[in-house]
């Protein structure tokens, strides 16, 4: 398979995973970009463990995913309690902090970035496997009793409280999961690119992720799955005269969607329609 295609698939997977992390917490009422924060940890951590310390790849992968989950878990005690908006600002601030920390660590290459990360072929397998496994887990979550509890929280948080749903604990759980998923995305990223530069994966990813997630559809897991590759491909596959205005197009798309159809292109109403047709 062509190098561009594999890179495209792998990087699309990164966005999808990050988007799913955002999705889990968005459905319980919070804007959470902690998965991007753990992505930074995962990317630098795994790269350093493998390249500088010589760890075997699977061990590095497991280590950073666990680290991502743990760190997200610790932060979630604070983030799970606050308003959706405060959570958003707080996690965005985390990204800037991470950027500052990384830039000051010489072992990580400082401002220039960390280079020389191996780019093995099996990353493609890892990416696709991650998509399948995480996707499967999320699908089951959404269709489980816990998933229904999440829906109640999303619809009416006061109702959820009166029904005895512990929103705080739910948010902690989901943020931790998002943290793990983010770290996984980070590993895929750095071993696809062969290098990590925090300015590209922290704040740089944030805006694109927001566009992909909210344009694609923030109420189901399919929105980001379909639209991350679609929108990400604009950069690569549009004719260059248009491609240079990709960001402008993204901004306009986001504004138009939020004005006309805030739930995004793929919404739950689509599934009701499909289900009705299937039942006939």
């Amino acid at each position: 398979m062509s190098g561009i295609i594999t890179t495209f698939i792998q990087l699309s997977t990164v966005y999808i995973l990050l988007g799913w992390g955002m999705f889990l917490v968005w459905r319980v009422g919070q804007l959470y970009v902690g998965s991007i924060f753990t992505m930074i940890i995962g990317a630098y951590g795994s790269a350093y463990l493998v390249k500088a310390l010589g760890w075997p790849f699977p061990a590095a992968l497991a280590a950073v995913v666990l680290a991502g989950a743990l760190i997200a878990f610790i932060f979630s005690f604070g983030f799970a309690r606050v308003s959706g908006f405060a959570c958003g600002i707080g996690t965005i601030a985390l990204l800037f902090i991470a950027q500052a920390i990384v830039w000051s660590i010489h072992a990580f290459g400082g401002v220039h970035g960390y280079f020389g990360v191996p780019m093995p072929e099996y990353i493609l397998v890892l990416a696709l496997a991650s998509l399948l496994i995480v996707g499967f887990l999320i699908y089951n979550l959404v269709h489980s009793r816990l998933g229904r509890a999440i829906e109640v929280v999303n619809t009416d948080i006061n109702l959820a409280n009166t029904l005895g749903i512990n929103v705080y604990k739910l948010r902690i759980t989901l943020q931790t999961a998002a943290g793990a998923i983010g770290a996984l995305a980070g590993v895929i990223y750095s071993f696809t690119m062969g290098m990590v530069q925090v300015q590209n994966i922290g704040v740089g990813v944030l805006l694109e992720l927001i566009v992909f997630f909210f344009v694609g559809g923030s109420s189901t897991m399919w929105g980001i799955l379909i639209f991350a590759p679609v929108l990400y491909s604009f950069h690569l596959f549009l004719p260059s005269s248009i491609a240079m205005f990709t960001d402008l197009i993204f901004g306009i798309l986001l504004i138009v969607i939020m004005m006309l159809r805030p739930e995004g292109i793929i919404g739950k109403d689509m599934f009701k329609g499909i289900r009705r047709k299937l039942q006939k």
Binding site: G88, I89, I210, V211, D247, P262
Partner: protein
């Protein structure tokens, strides 16, 4: 020896108050948009920096300082008003401040940032990702030893004091200000009073635009440069200050903006080298992160 230290401290203090004025003005504009219009306008600081770009274009073509600053001011107001209609559908749908407005404003900022970083360069308007201004009003007004208070800094501080005074006069002594306060307290009750929803929104965006326009002028004087990166940092800081003080709390945000400017000024001067500025930002974020985690209603209490 002590004299020099005192002078350095004084210089940092003045610098801090000048920058703090900008933070205060922007936080107030942000809070105003939040409480009166229910909009989390994350793109607001980007509008301010974008106005600086437009002013720079004017400067490049005319070299006229007064016209440049006037452009920054007017652009700040005009562009703010242009963004107002974009938020209307969301505001109609829900009570209070929907988080959708924050998402929508990121769309606006993506456009503005791309214009500054990319499109302007491609169209040949600007040469790089940073545009520079000549030092304006940089002469010293008062000299004390090695440090001084420049005309520019004095303009900023006095300008801020006057605008704040005018703003509070507006809010508490005029019909318009009363309608702002009424809408921010209880939107339905305000409608029952017949307070015109659209006109009030436009007025609030105009006032926020004025505050933004002034900030744009002050930033030109204080920084003598503009870039999209500046707007990234400005945006997160101003929002963080608003959270720290308590969102929607106008006087609280103003005071915290000032303190933050001073705090940042001292921090940057005491940390070594180039990383000083970077750590200055980061420590500020850490401080604010701590507030979000431990005191989410802000230190003065939230009004939303």
């Amino acid at each position: 020896m002590e004299n020099v230290t005192l002078q350095v401290i004084l210089a940092q203090l003045i610098n801090g108050i000048a920058i703090g004025s900008i933070y205060g003005l922007l936080t107030t504009g942000l809070n105003l948009l939040l409480v009166v219009c229910g909009v989390w306008h994350y793109a607001y600081p980007y509008v301010v920096v974008f106005s600086m770009y437009l002013a720079w274009l004017v400067h490049r073509n005319t070299g006229n300082i007064a016209l440049t600053l006037l452009t920054a001011f007017i652009a700040g107001i005009a562009i703010s008003l242009i963004t107002e209609p974009l938020f209307r559908p969301l505001s109609k749908k829900s009570e209070g401040a929907p988080i959708g407005t924050f998402i929508l404003s990121t769309g606006i900022l993506v456009i503005l940032a791309d214009l500054m970083n990319n499109v302007f360069i491609r169209l040949g308007f600007t040469a790089g990702s940073v545009v520079g201004f000549p030092q304006i009003a940089g002469n010293s007004l008062i000299q004390f030893g090695l440090s001084s208070l420049t005309y520019g800094q004095a303009i900023m501080v006095i300008g801020t004091v006057i605008s704040v005074a005018l703003l509070f006069y507006l809010l508490y002594r005029t019909k318009l200000g009363k309608s702002f306060r009424a809408v921010s307290q209880d939107r339905v009750a305000a409608q029952l009073l017949g307070i015109p929803t659209l006109k009030t929104r436009l007025n609030a965006f105009t006032v926020a635009g004025v505050l933004g326009g002034m900030s744009s002028v002050f930033l030109i004087i204080a920084l003598a440069q503009a870039s999209a990166t500046i707007s990234d940092y400005l945006a997160i800081k101003v929002f963080a200050i608003a959270l720290f003080a308590g969102v929607g709390n106008l006087p609280g945000g103003l005071i915290c903006g000032l303190f933050f400017g001073v705090f940042e000024s001292f921090l940057v001067s005491f940390l070594p080298g180039e990383s000083g500025a970077v750590w200055g930002n980061a420590i500020a974020f850490i401080l604010i992160l701590a507030t979000v985690l431990f005191r989410p209603r802000g230190i003065f209490g939230s009004r939303v």
